[in-house]
Amino acid sequence: MAEVEFRDVTRRYPGGRSGDTVALKGLNLTVADGEFLILVGPSGCGKSTALRLLAGLDKPTSGEIRIGGAVVNGLAPGERDIAMVFQNYALYPHMTVYRNLAYGLRQRRTPRAEVQRRVRETAELLQIGELLNRKPGQLSGGQRQRVAMGRALVRRPQAFLLDEPLSNLDAKLRNQVRGDLKRLHREVPVTSIYVTHDQVEAMTLGDRLCVMSDGEVQQIGTTDDIYNRPANTFVAAFMGSPPMNLLPGDVRGGVLHVGGEAVTTVSEPDGPMTVGVRPEHLQLHPSPSAGTVSATVDFVEPLGSHALVTALVEQTRVIVAAPPGTELAPGTRIGLQMPPEHTYFFDAETGQARSRALLTHR
């Protein structure tokens, strides 16, 4: 087990006439020993590139990667003592499960008895003991996933790299394996870096999250930080389901106006800004009144525990989590109240969070 560190790591892919593609722009990230860190972001944000650079499957254009304090830039993947779980598992199809698990150990010239003991141990931990003589082609998706985990675990590596390991499972199995992963990390606390585009997976699994977009880190923090103190509009809109509502606002004389309505007083300089409120914090009033933003109902999605009302404030779409049984005809005028303690302010141009003081209030 070891600490993993990225220092100013950049990966540039030379492109033809359209110019270079920068997959990763000066990544700085430290993953503590034994930590479970999630790299999350939309596809093409550089999260998989970061993982491949750490594994040694790709080389950084510049910057330094350290595992356990030692620079590993020049080391081949096999010399870095890391294990990786691939999205499609990449089990060796011509080997039995036993040989799949034993392969990495055999490559490192581990004595046969030791290999046998560790494979049995790992198989027991993952409950794949009865599958050892089968080939990957004879396993179900969930079993393959466990074998892939086992192949990584059995090596007892310095760090564990997981590249969207749950994306090939169906929804029910995914929930179950998510729980298994969490339990597993508690039992075997290896430094883990987990790449996903699924924000539910990200929020439930990780000690810390690193939200990425366009090859850059947007925010690093716990689920609580990311959800309640988003650093910018990208994080606010990406995390949470449904995501945070972002509305154009305007401060005039210390009063915030949204959709032409004076909503609340703020300690912000005059000018335009982006206002964010999560669906569950917006309060729905049956008709517009003073202090509420007026909106037009577009449609209602009942979900049992609550209902999602989609409405339009001028041209901006807003989603409100309303009590169950809410029924509103399309076109109905409603009022939306924004509780000041749950309202976020972002710079209208840069999208960066403006008043941290308000945000910490929660």
């Binding site: 990449a90 199809p93 011509h94 490559q107």
Partner: protein, 294 residues
């Protein structure tokens, strides 16, 4: 018009002629007949007397099958030596092709290096050049090897039959196409597990490419065993001859001893017949997977 339930076949439909076999057979059966006749004729002639063989119209059933033709043909020329030479050349060419084409094919499929594209195009271009065009330059190169490197590689030695065939552009191309279909993640997983680049090729890619390797092996054996033109040019000594060359023994300037020639032919054909029967599905695969006939 009467309306009919769609499930009932209409009268015209019922009367339609139904062949008890696929219509393709009407084409394929005559075609295979055409292909099999020369082989049968060879087999029949190999069992006839010389009189029967030269008779017109041809005798289709010899009065008494003359099996001595085989022993006589075997004794008429050092066939044991020819067989040995052929086997040796084929074996060396086969092993070398499997190794060299695997390495080169893997490099073209997976390793990025400067000029890979251009080199591959050049390699492909050589597939378009018929052997007759490169025959003389190759002869000169082989002669140079014989004079300057080792006489075993030079003219009039079976080494000359091996040297130009140690790897083929087709083999490299064929294996490259197959290697590209092996998932990259498998190779990456193996590398993370501590396998070297070469180890990945030998422990992951090759075991997964057995169908392709078998196909290449079968094609290589067949081409090498049947090669006639190149041995004809470089080999003159009897003790260095391969079977196809040796067969020309029976084709004298004035008289051809047909029954003996055919008996020898049958003997030289047997190993290839076995290879073909064993590897038939791989031949089909090679045509299907590359669109190129070996």
């Amino acid at each position: 018009m009467e309306l009919q339930p769609p499930s009932l076949p209409s009268p015209t439909r019922r009367r339609r002629l139904r062949l008890p076999f696929s219509p393709w057979h009407l084409v394929l059966i005559p075609l295979s007949f055409l292909l099999i006749v020369p082989l049968l004729w060879m087999l029949i002639t190999s069992l006839e007397t010389e009189g029967e063989a030269n008779h017109f119209p041809p005798v289709l059933f010899p009065a008494t099958p003359r099996f001595q033709n085989y022993s006589e043909a075997w004794a008429a020329a050092p066939f044991g030596q020819f067989f040995l030479n052929s086997a040796l050349v084929t074996l060396v060419v086969l092993i070398s092709n499997l190794i060299v084409c695997s390495l080169a094919g893997y490099a073209f499929a997976r390793i990025r290096f400067l000029g890979r594209g251009a080199l591959f195009v050049a390699l492909m271009a050589t597939l378009m050049v018929p052997f007759q065009v490169t025959m003389i330059p190759v002869f000169l190169i082989v002669k140079w090897f014989g004079d300057n490197v080792s006489p075993f590689l030079g003219i009039d030695h079976i080494g000359a039959l091996m040297l130009p065939n140690l790897a083929t552009a087709f083999g490299i191309f064929f294996l490259r196409q197959f290697f590209m279909t092996v998932p990259v993640e498998l190779e990456e997983a193996a590398r993370v597990d501590g396998t070297s680049r070469l180890g990945v090729l030998f422990k992951m890619v090759l075991p997964l490419s057995l169908p392709a390797l078998s196909t290449l092996a079968a094609l290589t054996v067949l081409t090498s065993w049947n090669d006639f033109l190149w041995p004809l040019i470089v080999i003159t000594s009897q003790d260095q001859m391969t079977i196809p060359l040796g067969l020309s023994y029976f084709q004298g300037a004035h008289r051809v001893r047909w029954p003996l020639l055919m008996a020898a032919n049958v003997m030289s054909l047997l190993p290839m017949l076995l290879v073909f029967i064993g590897a038939q599905r791989y031949f089909v695969q090679s045509v299907a997977s590359t669109g190129i006939k070996g």
